[in-house]
Every structure is written in structure tokens, then in C-alpha cells.
Amino acid sequence: MADCGEPDGPGNKDDITRSKNEGKELTKEEKQRLRKQKKHQKKQKERKNEKGPSETEKDKTPVSLLPPPQPVATQKAPSALPAPASAPIPVPASAPFHSSPAPSPADKPAKSKAELKAERRARQETDRAAKQPGSSSSGIKTKVPLSELNPVVKRLPEHVQVDDPAVVKRLAKKLERQQIPLRSDYGYKVSLFSHLHQYSRKAPLTQLLSIPSTVIHPSIVRLGLQYSQGIVAGSNARSVALLHAFKQVIRDYTTPPNEELSRDLVNKLKPYISFLNQCRPLSASMGNAIKYIKKEISNIPSQCKEEEAKTKLLTCIDRSSLVNNILCEAFEKSRKFRVIVVDSRPRLEGREALRRLVQRGISCTYVLISALSYILPEVSKVFLGAHALLANGYVMSRVGTSQIALVARTYNVPVLVCCETYKFCERVQTDSFVSNELDDPDDLMVTRKGKTQLENWQDVSSLGLLNLVYDVTPPDFVDLVITDLGMIPCTSVPVVLRVKNLDQ
């Protein structure tokens, strides 16, 4: 310890002052270095446990009045740590307290952590009170106590970290606590998408549920099964079904004694949402719906009687299909037009849309997406539905949408996206890899004339089947977004979100 502590003391002080005055921002490398330091310090703590108090005294004086991160720097100085990483570290407050319990890296097993924390805080207060250096803590201003600075590290959602075993373990533990079975991935995953889940439709989650399962409400189980089998599909249909199921849940809910409805109901909803997530990853519109419901529930005043509260919630819930509706309405206004429905495997959702349009009497043409460049010269406008609109203007929709937008742009055909405002979300994404959904790869198998192609794809070790569900279209390809608030360009999504937040 002595080697690290003393000689570097004064030199590092200058570094530290400079860095403190420069600013509080940390880059990724600095954060990584911090984590390494933490680990290193833990090890050192174990090793240097025997060192006497004299050592700590020596170290204490030069760096005594400096806030905890300082010793971290002094210790690491030999390993050429650049100055800015040291002082203004907005590290989660536990880190320095935890790893450098005393101003010196050496441990003082005699003092407990709480006492040391209090010591340090008192020191910081005296520093701030002293303001300008009259004390030996020359020129070092302790600007803000560490606890106020927020950790800047953002956590990735777990569903895009499937190849990280630590994350998967954490998820398994969480599901165990909530008594929900963990769905296992199926089949060989294409390496570029190995960070996403891939489930098989033939192994629904409900088979793993124990029969008297009191944790999950039966309507939610039914809903989960409908999602995983694809019976309820499409952004609007899923959200509506979700809200109906929640209505049933609220109707059957009774507040347990000594509990408040607003808090308990929200806690009850958590396992349901995990279960639904396991059946099929939540969509952006479902996420918004859930946020809204949770907000409504937590806003219920505690004095409200149970019956009242329940009716209140039910009424507030009560207030792609979209493109079809637009076309049908236009047809009713006797506009003369022809519709070309573009469809793609494996879902072939266009057939249902085609059926509905033809029933209304609209003249339609049906093509597969491979014939796109063939028909585009005779198209005047392209209408697309959206699954979600992201905050940077990108449109997240069924896979194939960005392809259509791209080809339409080269033919100079205007592309219009129809999307309700409840599908706007604060997320930002620039490509379709980071966060997506992998559907059952067995869907790509096709049986014609009794022969099934790709039947034994699992036997071929180097073959992977990829069944993507969503893709992301950049805003340069989209000319106009039609919403319930009016026509807006793609880049104005953050404005709408801002306006909506003000309303709420």
C-alpha cells in the first residue's frame, strides 16, 4: 500500500483538481476503468487486511479531506490512469463506499461501513462549509456529494441480451420468484441475431404451468396462449385483447386485508406481464397501454372504496386494421380507386385484408412482395401500417415494410404511414438488429404436393432459419404520417410526444 499511497499523493492532487474543474462527464472507458478499479480494490482489501493503522494514518493525511474517489485514483496512478476519470465520478454511490471504505485503499476492519460513510459525509460538509481553501485540502472544491449525481450507465433490456448468460440467469431468478415458467429457446439461431429469443410454437408456455396455478389469472393464461399461437396478431388486436383481459382481472380482483388497492393491484399485474412477455414479447403499443393502466391504478386515492375504484378503472379502460378502415371509408365517399395488396410469407396476413376489401366491393389486385418492382410503376400512393413510431422518426413495422418504402422512393411514389398516436414511443432505434422478434423458425417450412422442404433443417449443423417479425424504416423514405392528430412529417414524432405529455 505504501508504494501506491504516498509518493503519488501530491502529484495526483493536481490531476484531481484539474479533472474536478473540468467537468463531471464520464466516458465509457472511464466507467469501465471504474468497474475494474472496484474489482481490484476488493481483491486488495482481502490482501491488505493485515496492514496496521500506521499505514492508514500516513495515507490519510495527504488525501484525508478529499472525497472518497481520490484514493481510487491514487492507487491506480501507477497504471497510468488519465486524470479526468478520478474526481468527479458519478459512480453509483455504493461503489466507493464499498470498495474504498477508508480514505486509503487499506481496509479498516475496526470501523463499520456506516460509520465511515458518516465520517466521509461530515468531511464533505466541512469542506463545503469552508468553501475556499484555508484548510489543507488546498483548492479542491467538493462540488456535489456523490449521492446526488445520477449513474449515467443505462441498462439494456434483457430481451436483447439472450447471449449473455448473466442476464439470462437474472431473468430466470426473477421468473422463479414470480412462479412463472421460463420458456426455452428453440433451434439453431443465426449468429447476427443470437442476442434475441427464438421460441417454437409447438411448445407453448402453458404446458409448463402447474395446474392449480393461483398466480396467473385464467383470462391472462388464455390471452398468452392466443398470442403465442398467433391467434391474436396485429398491433391493435393485441392491445385491445390485452385491455379486455385486464378488465376481467380488475373485475375479479379483491383487495387483501391490510393492503391498498393502488399498490397491490400494480404488484399483481407484474407477474402477468412477465408471463405475457414470455409468451410473446410485448409490442410498443401494449407497452404504452400497460403504462397507462399502471398510472391510472396508482392514481386511485387511498380512501376510495373498492367497488368505486374498480368501476373507475373499468371506465377508463373503456375509451391496421387501420389502413383497411381508411380504404373502406374512402370507397364509401365514392372515390374511384384500385387497391394492390402486397403480401409476404410466412404469415400471409394480406389475405385477410384482401378478403375484407373485396367484400366491400373495392377492386383489388393481390401480389407477393417479390413482384413489387413489377407493379410499382402503376401505383400512385403507398399506404403502410405501423407497429410503432420511434422518437427519431423511424417506423417500426412488419418485416418487408422498409423494402416497400425503399423501392417506392426510387420510383418517386409517395409513401404514407398510418399510425395512431398511442403507438408513438420514446425509444430510439436505427436498425432492425438491436431489438426485434424472432418467430418460430419452423414456419419457414413449406409443404407442397406432399413434400416438405427443409423438413430436416435441424440436422444440418450449419443451417439456420431466420423468421424476423419486425423491421425499421428510416424517415427519409416516408413522406407523411397520418395520425389521429392530423398529418405530420415523420420527424415530428417527439413534438407529438411532448404535446401529449403536457396534456396528461
Binding site: 400512393k381 409517395p414 404514407l416 427519409d476 413522406d479 407523411l480 412529417p489 420527424t491
Partner: protein, 301 residues
């Protein structure tokens, strides 16, 4: 009633030829408000709308209709909770005058923002005759910057020649070029500045015919394409292509009244999409085309 209105409007345009037609229209509307003898606020609003329609029949530019609509919104944006109608009217009149004051200063604000983008020794290309562009160039000349200007002749009314005369009076070296010579001249030019008759929700502009061509050519040559426009020209249209611009803006007012079959007539304006525009200079600040929609939402909602 109508002739009185139109006469007043025409007088305003005659007394100050430098004034934008939209400003004259708003002055007329304000005077109309003062003289109006209506009994209800709703009736007042209806008659103001009617007056705006009359004025658009006289001068069919986009700016007149957008200016009128903004005027109406601005004056009714306050709380009109007073019991007495005359007090309400007074409040509306005061706000109307405030609005008028603000927009009379808008050209100066635009000129102040834009002239810094004109560097010493710059060669500027502009289209037809725009008073805002003229004001910008006046300010740049007053700041002792040396620049040369190329103006397109801009058929069918050869408005470019008027612009050239005005610039010559400022001692700015100016050359008049044919509309067809835009591609030829663009390699010598450093930047392109045009005015606008209307700015649409997507961030695109509606301007004298020939502007779209100039924008496409400057994109091909990678020259910045700047638009200068006052904020009362922001209009709630969203055209996706040239066809989507309504007929009432495309042709002059007299043509619309007299001619039955418009397919023989040549349109006077065209639409430039936002992808070809670099920046817009307005009295609300320097905006990118995507920011126009944000400003419009703030103005109209």
C-alpha cells in the same frame, strides 16, 4: 360591403408597394373588425372568415389566405370572457394591432438572420422578384459586403427584370439570365436564395414557377438552397407532389374567375419538397425543413 373591402385592400397595396400582400390583407381585416357592427363573437368570426375569402378572390396568393387565418387565430387566442361585447372587441382589436406590428418587423428580422450567410465575394442566384430577398441583399450591401447576383428572368411576367433594376440602384453587380440557363450558371454560383409565397407543413415551399427546377439543379451541384420567408406565410397544406397543390393557388385570381377549363392555363407556382431545401430563414429563427412542422404545431394548436 364587399366593394368597400376590396377598395380598401387595393388602396393599401397602392400606397405602399413594398408591403407584402398578406400584410395589406391583415390591415384590411383589422379595419373591417373596427367597423364591424356585429352583435355576437361567433358572428364576428364568421364575418372575418367571409372577409378573408373575399380578399383571396382578389389576390389568390397563398400568403393572403394563410395570413388571414393566422390573424383570426391570434386575436381569438385570448380569453374572451368579458360580459360586454364592445370590451371583447377592444381586446381583439388590440391584439390585432399587436399582430400587425409584429409582422411588419418580420422582414427586418429575417434580413438580420440571413445576411451573415452571405460572405464577401459571394455569387448569389435568385429567382424572380422577391421583396424579402431584396431586403436581405440590401442589408448585406449595407454591411459593406461585396457580392454579385444572378437573377432569372422568370417568365411569363418577366418579374426578374424588376429585381435587377432594384439591385442596380443599390450598386450591386447583377446579371439577368434566362430561366433555361439555371443549370449553366450554377457552377459559378456559391449559394441560392429564394423567397416563398407559402411554406407548407412538410417544410417544403410554394413559390413562383421555376423554383423547383432551380432546387433540383442546386441539389445536383451540391449548392446550398436557402429560403427566406416571414412566419405568416406558414400554411396548413401537405402536398406530396405538384398535383396536390390546390388550384386556387396555382393560377391568378382573374384567371380562376374567367376561364372555365383550367387545363389550358399554365400554373404560376410550383411546389418544392423539403428534401431539396437546406435552411429556411424566418422571423421565428433559422429552421431546418423538419422544424417547420414543429413551429406550425405551435402556431396553430
Amino acid at each position: 360591403m364587399e366593394e368597400c373591402l376590396v377598395e380598401y385592400f387595393r388602396t393599401q397595396m397602392r400606397t405602399d408597394p413594398d408591403m407584402a400582400s398578406a400584410v395589406a390583407a391583415i390591415r384590411t381585416l383589422l379595419e373591417f373588425l373596427r367597423r364591424d357592427k356585429g352583435e355576437t363573437i361567433l358572428g364576428l368570426r364568421e364575418s372575418l372568415k367571409w372577409a378573408t375569402d373575399c380578399l383571396t378572390e382578389v389576390d389568390s396568393s397563398v400568403a393572403v389566405s394563410s395570413g388571414g387565418e393566422l390573424f383570426l387565430r391570434f386575436i381569438s387566442l385570448t380569453s374572451l370572457e368579458h360580459q360586454d361585447l364592445s370590451r371583447c372587441k377592444k381586446v381583439m382589436e388590440e391584439r390585432g394591432e399587436l399582430f400587425l406590428e409584429k409582422i411588419s418587423l418580420s422582414r427586418t428580422k429575417v434580413a438580420k438572420l440571413c445576411h451573415t450567410f452571405i460572405k464577401d465575394g459571394a455569387k448569389i442566384l435568385t429567382h424572380s422578384s422577391s421583396r424579402v430577398v431584396l431586403r436581405v441583399l440590401e442589408k448585406a450591401a449595407a454591411e459593406k459586403k461585396r457580392f454579385t447576383v444572378y437573377v432569372t428572368e422568370s417568365q411569363p411576367d418577366t418579374a426578374g427584370k424588376q429585381m435587377a433594376d432594384a439591385l442596380r440602384r443599390l450598386n450591386v453587380p447583377v446579371t439577368v439570365v434566362l430561366d433555361a440557363a439555371v443549370g449553366y450558371v450554377l457552377e459559378k454560383v456559391d449559394l441560392v436564395i429564394v423567397g416563398a409565397e407559402g411554406v407548407v407543413e412538410s417544410g417544403g415551399i410554394i413559390n413562383k414557377i421555376g423554383t423547383y427546377q432551380m432546387a433540383v439543379c442546386s441539389k445536383a451541384h451540391n449548392k446550398p438552397f436557402y429560403v427566406v420567408a416571414e412566419s405568416f406565410k406558414f400554411v396548413r397544406l401537405y402536398p406530396l407532389n405538384q398535383q396536390d397543390v390546390p388550384d386556387r393557388f396555382k393560377y391568378k385570381a382573374d384567371t380562376l374567375r374567367t376561364v372555365s377549363d383550367l387545363s389550358d392555363e399554365h400554373p404560376m407556382i410550383d411546389y418544392t419538397p423539403p428534401s431539396l431545401i437546406t435552411l429556411l430563414f424566418t422571423d421565428l429563427g433559422v429552421l431546418t425543413p423538419s422544424a417547420v412542422s414543429d413551429e406550425l404545431i405551435k402556431l396553430y394548436l
